[in-house]
Symmetry: C2
Subunit: 158 residues, 2 copies
């Protein structure tokens, strides 16, 4: 697994409120803007920040709402780790599986095994020893220009 | 405020356990490694991931331990937002102040006003409407090579 973060996802209770702050307030220009659903903002070379409904994020992770993704995680202090995830893109569906296996061998815990994602690619989730969650994804619609600009185009579900 | 994340900090209960996973397990090479205290890993062009003690992170944010940084934040489900922060670097001490003011006008909440940081620069924290916390920092010891590699050198306290 290469040391690389491609996407930071913040699970927010109100995507419209997040939009008012980041787009209207700070003046950041969306890469992708689906009102009330999700907002993607470029925040670095090949790096996006995603503002995504927290319920939708928990669902995407394959978890029941409101539950910590780490069985047996220390409940004191209570931490909803699902409020944010880091994502790591790989080049093939198979590499999603092998990368999750690498993370598990390294001491991570598989939260969601590799599977077809709603957006057309393949993804899975693991947590690190502290409970922080990483998504591993193959998204054929994601590309990065030479200057670091991320392009996202729809993917035909396979 | 430019749309840019420079540093992702994960507040972990055990920095040595995080090191075993990311360095020994995944094989990622530290940019900075202070055993038991902090671990910096390069995870993108000009982007570092920091594994930092969660108690130390809360202290750095100027908050009492275990408390949510957002007064009045929804306690159900309980969310310890301090478990992670995003950092945004600026070019001068004065720009830390003006950037925090911009974030406040945009609807953010000042968590820690601009002040001299232990590591020699100047920093402050604000939270976005969902409670996610951003550090705004001027770190004269932080530089980015043309290829995106981050260099960190000690700063003389001013």
């Amino acid at each position: 697994m290469d040391p690389r973060v491609d996407l930071i996802t913040l699970g927010v209770p109100d995507v419209a409120a997040a939009r008012r702050f980041y787009v209207d307030g700070l003046g950041w220009r969306p890469t992708l803007d689906v009102p009330g659903e999700v907002l993607f903002l470029q925040v670095g070379h090949g790096l996006l920040l995603s503002l995504f409904g927290d319920d939708a994020l928990v669902l995407d992770m394959g978890l029941p709402a409101g539950r910590s993704p780490v069985p047996g995680a220390d409940p004191d202090p209570p931490v909803l780790r699902t409020a944010f995830t880091l994502a790591h893109n790989v080049e093939s569906d198979e590499e999603v599986r092998t990368t999750l296996a690498v993370a598990e061998r390294a001491g991570g815990r598989i939260i969601k095994p590799a599977q077809r994602a709603e957006w057309g690619g393949v993804h899975g989730y693991f947590s690190d020893p502290a409970g922080f969650c990483w998504e591993v994804a193959h998204n054929p619609g994601w590309s990065v220009d030479a200057d670091g600009t991320v392009q996202i185009r729809p993917v035909e579900p396979g």
